[in-house]
Amino acid sequence: MKFSPPILRRVLQCLLAAAFLFTLIEGVVLRLT
């Protein structure tokens, strides 16, 4: 599979979504940041 910028963009978008999810659970819900 060719590693092109659109794929990289999607991967980074997914990582960002995961980071927000982690922050919401760890930071906001559990410790109120």
Binding site: R9, F20, T23, R31, L32, T33
Partner: protein, 432 residues
């Protein structure tokens, strides 16, 4: 404005309420917080003794000229002293502090107005109203419009810089940017980030020949140095080191990094110790602070912050969008980088970030081509969320102050520093 209809009038209403809360914030902040005492004392000693002096820690309201001002630049203190003189008040720390609160009020109002102007230039009038309304009801900006701290003026300078960068055809652009860089630096040393931002902005954004761009960069550097040089000369004469202010501020870094002082009390890290500081910065301070800043922005910029995060990510893959937003990205990027590389990213470092994060968030919303109805629902929810967070924050601390964070959410140390500060110093209830 006409297109926005009801939301437009809601924005105007929120801006008016925000302005009222800013005036009230001057009253809530009747007691002095942290670093503000440095500027208030320096302003008072300038009026009384004709010298910019510091103050012993723990004695915030004593007018004792103990040591020359070094930790902060002179601009904010001089502005406070100027207002005290203008009003014909006595040169006390209380009066200088009140003058600084009034100046922070003016700066806080200017932040909203200038953010509107920047948003109108970079985005459109609809977004400009919504951004102004959000900023107007941001409790962080409300508090920093009345607590006498210099961060609202720093935000004003950043926004002015962005507006100047847009005026490509103005022949005095490089000179005015250089002067602004110099004054901003002397107002808060953190604003030194405007220098690399200016160089990159002039090199990347200008349409003129590369020689012209290099000359513009040189003009900016020369003007900034000319403005800052009296301060360097003064420090060389008093302390024997033109960059003594930076040494004083670096001591904080050395202490946090565990670098021991020499036998004479001075800090002179070895090359190995400098590398250890750099490693700690990259390995520990930067990621932890970046996470703190991100989760803080998620709360104080409700709903819109994820849009900004995705917008920044998309800029990596779109030069045309990045080019359009480059002045905003440069200021936000350099300011954030400096803030998170510091041992502890203080809550107050977030103040100048807010307008720029909102601008990027709304640019991203515009690109997403959301249907008009859905877009208005998102905007309505965002405005309601900003009002809700402001309401909760107002009720979270009895004094309604917010300097140290730790209201509704934890501060950088996972504590409630503002509440602790208010309680430990007996600032509530307010004495009559």
């Amino acid at each position: 404005m006409r297109k926005l209809g009801i939301i437009g009038w809601v924005c105007v209403g929120m801006i008016v309420v925000g302005l009222g809360l800013r005036v009230a914030s001057v009253g809530w902040n009747w007691f002095i917080h942290g670093d503000v005492q440095i500027d208030a004392s320096a302003g008072a000693t300038l009026v009384t003794y004709g010298k910019l002096m510091g103050v012993e820690e723990g004695q915030p309201l004593l007018l004792e000229p103990t040591q020359p001002l070094a930790q902060h630049g002179p601009v904010w203190a001089v502005m406070g002293a100027g207002l005290v003189r203008l009003m014909g008040w006595e040169g006390t720390v209380e009066n200088a502090f009140f003058a600084l609160r009034l100046l922070s009020l003016l700066s806080g109002i200017a932040v909203v107005a200038l953010s509107f102007a920047v948003a109108k230039q970079f985005l459109n009038e609809e977004d400009a109203w919504v951004i102004a309304a959000c900023l107007s009801l941001s409790y962080l900006l409300i508090d920093y419009s009345g607590n006498g701290a210099l961060y609202s003026l720093q935000t004003v300078f950043y926004l002015l810089w962005v507006l100047l960068m847009r005026r490509e055809d103005w022949k005095w652009r490089a000179v005015s940017i250089g002067l602004l860089d110099g004054v901003s630096y002397l107002m808060n040393f953190q604003s030194i980030i405007l220098l690399p931002a200016s160089v990159l902005g002039l090199l990347l954004l200008s349409r003129s020949h590369w020689k012209r761009r290099v000359v513009d960069c040189a003009i900016v550097a020369a003007c900034a140095l000319a403005v800052a040089s009296p301060w360097f000369i003064r420090n060389a004469m008093i302390f024997g080191d033109p960059l003594y202010s930076h040494y004083i501020n670096q001591i904080y870094v050395f202490i946090k990094a565990g670098v021991p002082p020499l036998a004479n009390g001075r800090y002179e890290p070895s090359i190995a110790e400098w590398f250890s500081i750099l490693w700690g910065m990259i390995h520990t301070w930067l990621p932890n602070n970046l996470y703190y800043v991100s989760r803080k922005l998620l709360v104080i910029l409700p709903i819109v912050f994820p849009f900004a995060a995705y917008g920044l990510l998309d800029y990596v893959f779109s030069w045309s969008r990045l080019r359009k937003m480059l002045p905003i990205v440069l200021v936000l990027g350099f300011h954030t980088l400096l803030s998170v590389a510091w041992p502890v990213a203080k809550f107050r470092y977030l103040v100048p970030m807010l307008p720029f994060v909102l601008l990027i968030a709304f640019e991203q919303m515009g690109i997403l081509q959301i249907r008009s109805g859905v877009r208005h629902i998102v905007i309505g929810m965002t405005l309601a969320a900003f009002a809700g967070v402001a309401f909760l924050t107002y009720h979270s601390v009895p004094t309604h102050t917010y300097y140290y964070d730790g209201a509704i959410t934890q501060d950088a140390f996972h504590g409630t520093q503002e509440k602790d500060f208010v309680r430990d110093n007996g600032y509530f209830p307010r004495p009559r």
